[in-house]
């Protein structure tokens, strides 16, 4: 079965510092990887997906098939980045499987 692991439940960094949210996955095919963000009391929003190789709000994520990872990175954290971040995986036409989420707190 496909599994998504986010090893850090909580991550706290200072404003301006680099951020890396870890995501590892196990799969039995060629998955599609996503990052979702949930700001306080708001909906889950798609942040980025690996196939588009885009940068959203300064965040990037590279799919590393050798390490089966899809870590989310931002070089300079901003206070408005504080949120819950979920890594998710889909395989073929299957529905997304979510990791446990990482709560990111940016300290001023």
């Amino acid at each position: 079965a496909q599994r998504v692991t986010q090893p850090e439940k909580l991550l706290s960094v200072f404003k301006g510092a680099p951020v890396e949210l870890k995501c590892n996955y196990s799969y039995s095919g060629s998955p599609e990887l996503f990052w979702y963000v949930q700001y306080s009391r708001q909906r889950l929003q798609l942040l980025l997906r690996h196939i588009s190789r885009e940068s959203i709000k300064g965040f990037t994520a590279d799919l590393n098939k050798g390490e089966t990872s899809f870590h989310l990175k931002k070089p300079f954290a901003q206070e408005e980045d504080s949120a819950m971040y979920y890594c998710a995986l889909t395989l073929g036409a299957q529905k997304p499987v979510f990791g446990q989420g990482t709560r990111l707190t940016i300290n001023p």
Partner: protein
């Protein structure tokens, strides 16, 4: 930008009561989903719905749960006899296609069973 709308945002119900959570997916989307998130835990898949029938469901989605798309716009989740452990945030999502096209989530309904 089109949104998935969920109502109510918060519902409190007594144990054993029936609840209906409502969702209005994006109008041209074809696939619909319910997920739930128990406080402090991960987002869990409940059920997917396509072409007016359930296409997949998880083991969480037992006989107490049902889904309906009664009028071509709303997509509802019914819990027949709520239990304390049903307390969670319930998210509706829709997508135009499955797989890599991403899913649009609603803002969720927080269900509290007392």
């Amino acid at each position: 930008e089109p949104e998935v709308t969920q109502t109510p945002s918060h519902q409190v119900t007594q144990m054993g009561q029936e609840v209906i959570l409502r969702c209005v997916p994006i109008s041209n989307h074809l696939y619909f989903y319910w997920y739930r998130q128990i406080l402090g835990q991960k987002v869990e898949f409940l059920v997917s719905f396509y072409n007016n029938e359930i296409s997949e469901k998880s083991e969480i989605f037992d006989d107490q749960f049902s889904v309906e798309r009664p009028d071509g716009s709303n997509f509802t989740l019914k819990i027949r006899s709520t239990k304390l452990e049903d307390s969670a945030m319930y998210f509706c999502a829709s997508s135009l296609r499955q797989g890599s096209y991403g899913y649009t989530f609603g803002s969720g309904t927080r269900l509290t069973v007392v």
